[in-house]
Amino acid sequence: MDLADLTRELETLRADALAAIAGAPDSATLEALELDVLGKKGRLTTVLRGIGALPPDDRPKVGAVANAVRGAIESALAERGAEVRSTELAARLAAEAVDVTTPGRPVRRGTLHPSIEAMREIAEIFEQFGFVTYESPEIEDDRTNFQMLNIPPDHPARDLWDTLYVDVEGKLLRTHTSPGQIRVMQAERPPIRALLPGRCFRYEAVDASHASEFFQVEGLMIDEGTTMADLKGLLDQFAKAMFGADKRTRFRPGYYPFTEPSVAFDVECLVCGGSGCPACGRSGWMTILGAGMVHPVVLQYGGLDPERYQGFAFGMGPERIKMLKHGITDLRLFLENDLRFLEQFR
């Protein structure tokens, strides 16, 4: 083989390879071609083995041709490779496409009970004003539930709390969270700002607005200069936080044996905005809680001097707060645990 033969073979190789590359349908074919032409045992190497038989002067010439051929093939491979990969990518993307409008795979999420959540929301609001949470027993003694709250045995005010009694001497199921006031006063020195959430019981026929078991949140604040104006300010803040900053509120007289003076706290009707509707009994107001200045008898049972200390207590029903807030019309739903009801909350 002489220079011309070798050169011709290299040109033939170039022409064959370029044609094959141009016609290669996919990247696998290209990779095979690359190996076949440019690989260690490829055709180019095979041709160049003949170079050793050439005179030394001719070798660089063949080398130059061979490099040109290699360069041409490499760039053809790269060029065609890019084309083929791009086609292949497009095909893959097309093949992988899904109907993105189908619903996602659901992740199960439970919901939190509205009564307990209401108590948490109430606590979050009052915590901003320094109130701290306590708990007290549900099976209470008559003395703490009534007598120490200025409700002696056989007092007509007992009619306000129809009571469930139990088969343990002197005990009953607490009818309100107010006995917690006594327990907090006995355990702490003023300044006191306490919240007492928990379950309560009444001998009460069940209907849309009465339950034999329900929750209450008691509030208690006592110090040397705690006044009814503080009570009004805090409750007003509470109502605005819970029901909206534009809501008007008012105090009107109420009655509880353990507060004096006692008040009912009203917020403007959430349905009609105060103009009067069936939901508010046409009064324009909805009562959300009862409150008052702690009665001196109660302060003394709590171990506090009523001449020095004064303060207020309030008690509210978290279910009622939720009913007003979400338009729930039947109190029974709270203990029925129908998932269709519970799952409406978060």
Partner: protein, 828 residues
């Protein structure tokens, strides 16, 4: 209390519109619950004049009337009453009218004659008690006018609070109206016209129990004629919620509603010797009460008696033998005051709470005894034509001196957070009949009342002394004065401010850990339930307290169940000792509504009692129940039911969230509620203990749960009752790679995986970081009673990259340990 405005106006002028009056009374503390248009039930009832009353052509007992109702042609109406005559004015229900009780009147045919409506009796209109005759209207009634124009009224329903017994009557509410408007109160005339008879000749009263009956005033009226009370009175009583009975009985109800003084009247003929004795019942005595129930009297019962025996239960209910009847001609009037506590106990004991006992319970003004007796005698004479004997029998005529209550205007202001000048406070008190004076030096202030009375020196503070009207038994301490001042002034005087007094010390919320658990479980797909603490005896029997190991700081379950002695129903009569039964009821409720996948939890209490010391205790638990689809079914996911592993996964998630070690499970085979092969005791360090398992199939059947499997758990968790979650120590992750080794361990099929895993951990050496079970294999080539457990072991050092040699030593040790401790060998 129902208050017809027309009646109230007898005692005070009311210029305000009813709605305004209601609002003002509410803001004064007399909450008006409803403002009712009385007569709204008479739609389509008009005044008619009878033009003719003739016999019905085909029925002897019916009349055919022609009635002018003021609209052209007279109407022909058939009527069965006999008290009608031409010329009278009567109420006519026109066709289409709806009477009280939702009774619709239509044009009907009666024995061949068309009746164009109905003539109404007082009873049919809820106006009087007379059901026999047609209500005859006054001649001045305008023909064709709606009946409401004639007899319509407005009735306020006032919620009088228990401390204001004085306001449970027209006079009491008139005083409140007066406080609002300033209009004077007109007390009705009480003096009866007296005859020449002397009461001493007819009536003697002995009070054996002056503490229980501090005052008894009697009057004697003879020659009465029993009949209906005047219609105007009947109308008032009905509007106020009382059924008219007869003139004499109606007087006592009328006086009670007017003055707040319960009155009892006896047929004088039934009181032997005209002698009344107020005494306690004797053992074995019986009495037939007005409701015709024969009652065994208990010895603590205060009686009104005559020498031959009991006449009535004092203040609660009269006896049948001395009841006013049509034949009564002589009447003894009892206007007494009784001990409130005694009355309340007696009324409860015999389940006989009445309008009268309610008023006695709240305490009675001393002078009302005399006023009530006089007013009653006067009205009997007026309505029933009797002669009132001269004088009264009065066991305690001495009026107590009015109470005086000292207060400091500055203290009133301090309590309320206001700055009301002294003069204004005095004006406000005067409006509710409380005059004030400057207190003499050295006056002591009643700061607190019984049973914790406290009086203090006024010191240098300005002090006033209020004279308390005899009817205001509720004004006893300085704070009561503050309430009077502010309720009359209106609570809008109290500003809304934010506290500027010192803050209390920080305190962790005892609810914090509970909220963490709730959020975690909700995130894991469980919905929070809140169920009754009071459950049925069956449920308590079936789901008793679990004997799980104690968790520090958390109450142990136990003690006997606490039972309600006056339950509303047996379904809610015992305090539960486990949450599981309650949750299964929730599962059942939802399954019955075709809600087949249920994942719920509750954090609640169990309750128990210890009889030795009459103590009770309460313990917090978390329980959950899972049934149905573990994941919400989706088009691209096959359904998978909840099983035990899901429940364990939830517990493991909780343990991680609360910083507890991974839970350990031990087979639990003897809990009758749980599947003996699918239940475990679970503990996580000393921070969690309880049980988890599939419900026993037998129980599933007993509870009629339509589910293949329900997995439940009940757990005590440290901190649930108020403790705080622990804070974990942080560890810097090693910078050197971990190396995994997989081991397949062949052990007996009965060997719990947890034991094998524990063995591996025990022998794995200090470099072993984790052991994870990733496969369980049974079948060839293993023996019948063998299984292969595949674990992935991760090893890691803090200071270097591990070599094969490091691992070989550890694996060698594990292999030896498995052989020795659990009889296992590696599968190669």
């Amino acid at each position: 209390m129902r208050v017809p405005l027309s009646w109230l106006r007898d005692y005070v002028d009311v210029q305000l519109a009813p709605e305004q009056l209601a609002e003002r009374l509410t803001l004064l503390g007399m909450e008006v619950r409803t403002v009712e248009a009385w007569g709204a039930g008479w739609e389509g009832v008009v005044v008619g004049q009878l033009l003719a009353v003739e016999r019905h052509p085909r029925a002897d007992r019916l009349s055919l009337t022609r009635v002018d109702v003021g609209s052209g042609e007279p109407l022909e109406i058939v009527c069965g009453a006999t008290n009608i005559a031409a010329g009278q004015r009567v109420p006519v229900a026109l066709p289409g009218a709806v009477l009280p009780g939702n009774r619709r009147i239509e044009r009907t045919e009666k024995m061949g004659v068309v009746s164009n409506g109905m003539l109404c009796s007082g009873d049919e209109l809820d106006l009087t008690g007379d059901a026999d005759g047609i209500l005859i209207l006054p001649v001045e009634a305008r023909i064709g006018a709606p009946l409401a124009e004639l007899y319509g009224d407005t009735v306020l329903d006032v919620d009088v609070k228990p401390n204001r017994g004085d306001a449970l009557c027209m006079i009491g509410l008139a005083r409140e109206v007066s406080a609002v408007t300033g209009a004077p109160v007109r007390f009705p005339a009480t003096d009866p016209p007296e005859s020449t008879d002397r009461i001493e000749d007819h009536l003697q009263v002995e009070v054996e129990e002056p503490v229980l009956c501090p005052r008894f005033v009697g009057r004697w009226v003879s020659g009465v004629q029993i009949g209906p009370a005047p219609e105007r009175i009947q109308r008032r009583l009905i509007a106020a919620g009382q059924r008219p009975v007869s003139n004499v009985v109606d007087v006592s109800n009328y006086v009670m509603l007017e003055l707040g003084k319960p009155i009892h009247t006896f047929d004088a003929a039934a009181v032997r010797g005209g002698r009344i004795i107020v005494r306690l019942a004797r053992a074995g005595e019986r009495l037939e009460t007005l409701d015709h129930v024969i009652r065994e009297l208990e010895p603590e019962t205060l009686l009104i008696a005559d020498p031959s025996g009991p006449l009535g239960i004092a203040g609660v209910m009269g006896g049948a033998t001395s009841e006013i009847s049509d034949a009564t001609t002589g009447v003894i009037v009892e206007s007494a005051i009784f001990d409130p506590v005694s009355i309340r106990r007696t009324a409860f004991r015999y389940a006989l709470r009445s309008e009268a006992s309610l008023r006695f319970e709240k305490g009675q003004e001393h002078r009302l005894a005399r006023l009530g007796a006089d007013r009653t005698a006067r009205l009997i004479a007026e309505w029933a034509g009797g002669r009132v004997a001269t004088g009264v029998v009065d066991t305690n005529p001495t009026e107590p001196a009015p109470a005086r209550l000292a207060f400091r205007p500055a203290r009133v202001n301090r309590l309320l957070g206001v700055e009301l000048p002294t003069a204004e406070q005095r004006d406000l008190l005067a409006r509710v009949g409380v005059p004030t004076d400057v207190a003499p030096a050295g006056t002591r202030i009643a700061v607190s009342s019984e049973p914790m009375p406290l009086e203090v020196e006024a010191g240098g503070a300005e002090t006033l002394i209020a004279t308390i009207p005899s009817w205001r038994r509720d004004l006893a301490i300085e704070a009561d004065v503050a309430e009077e001042v502010v309720r009359v002034r209106g609570y809008d005087v109290v500003p809304a401010i934010l506290p500027h007094t010192p803050m209390p010390h920080y305190r962790h919320s005892p609810l914090r850990l509970r909220h963490m658990v709730r959020e975690t479980l909700a995130g894991a797909g469980l919905t929070e339930a809140v169920t009754f603490a009071l459950v049925s005896p069956t449920l308590v029997e079936r789901f008793g307290p679990s004997d799980d190991p104690p968790v520090p700081g958390e109450g142990e379950a136990g003690g006997r169940p606490v039972t309600v002695t006056n339950p509303l129903s047996s379904q809610h009569s015992v305090m539960r000792q486990s949450l599981l039964g309650s949750l299964l009821e929730v599962v059942s409720t939802n399954l019955r509504q075709d809600r087949l996948d249920v994942a719920i939890f509750e954090i609640g209490k169990g309750y128990g009692a210890t009889d030795e010391d009459d103590s009770t205790h309460e313990w917090w638990r978390l329980a959950f129940a899972l049934t149905g689809a573990a994941e919400i079914p989706a088009w691209n996911r096959p359904p998978r039911p909840y099983d035990l592993d899901d429940a364990k996964g939830v517990i493991e998630l909780l343990a991680r969230r609360l910083g507890l070690p991974g839970p350990n499970y031990v087979a639990l085979t003897d809990d009758p509620r749980l599947h003996p092969g699918r239940a475990a005791r679970v503990t996580a360090g000393d921070g969690l203990a309880g049980r988890v398992g599939s419900l026993h199939p037998g129980l599933l059947d007993d509870l009629e749960l339509r589910a293949a499997d329900v997995v439940v758990a009940e757990l005590a968790i440290a901190g649930l009752s108020g403790g705080q979650p622990s804070s974990p120590r942080s560890v810097t992750p090693s910078r050197h790679p971990a190396v995994d080794r997989d081991l397949a361990v062949i052990v007996a099929d009965s060997r719990p995986a947890a034991e094998v895993e524990a063995t591996i951990r025990r022998h794995g050496g200090p470099l072993l970081r984790s052991v994870v079970l990733f496969d369980i294999y049974r079948g060839r080539p293993l023996g019948d009673r063998e299984k292969s457990l595949a674990f992935r072991l991760a090893f890691q050092a803090e200071d270097r990259t591990l070599t094969e040699n490091d691992l070989d030593g550890a694996i060698e040790a594990v292999t030896r340990g498995l052989a020795a401790d659990v009889g296992g060998h590696l599968r190669t």
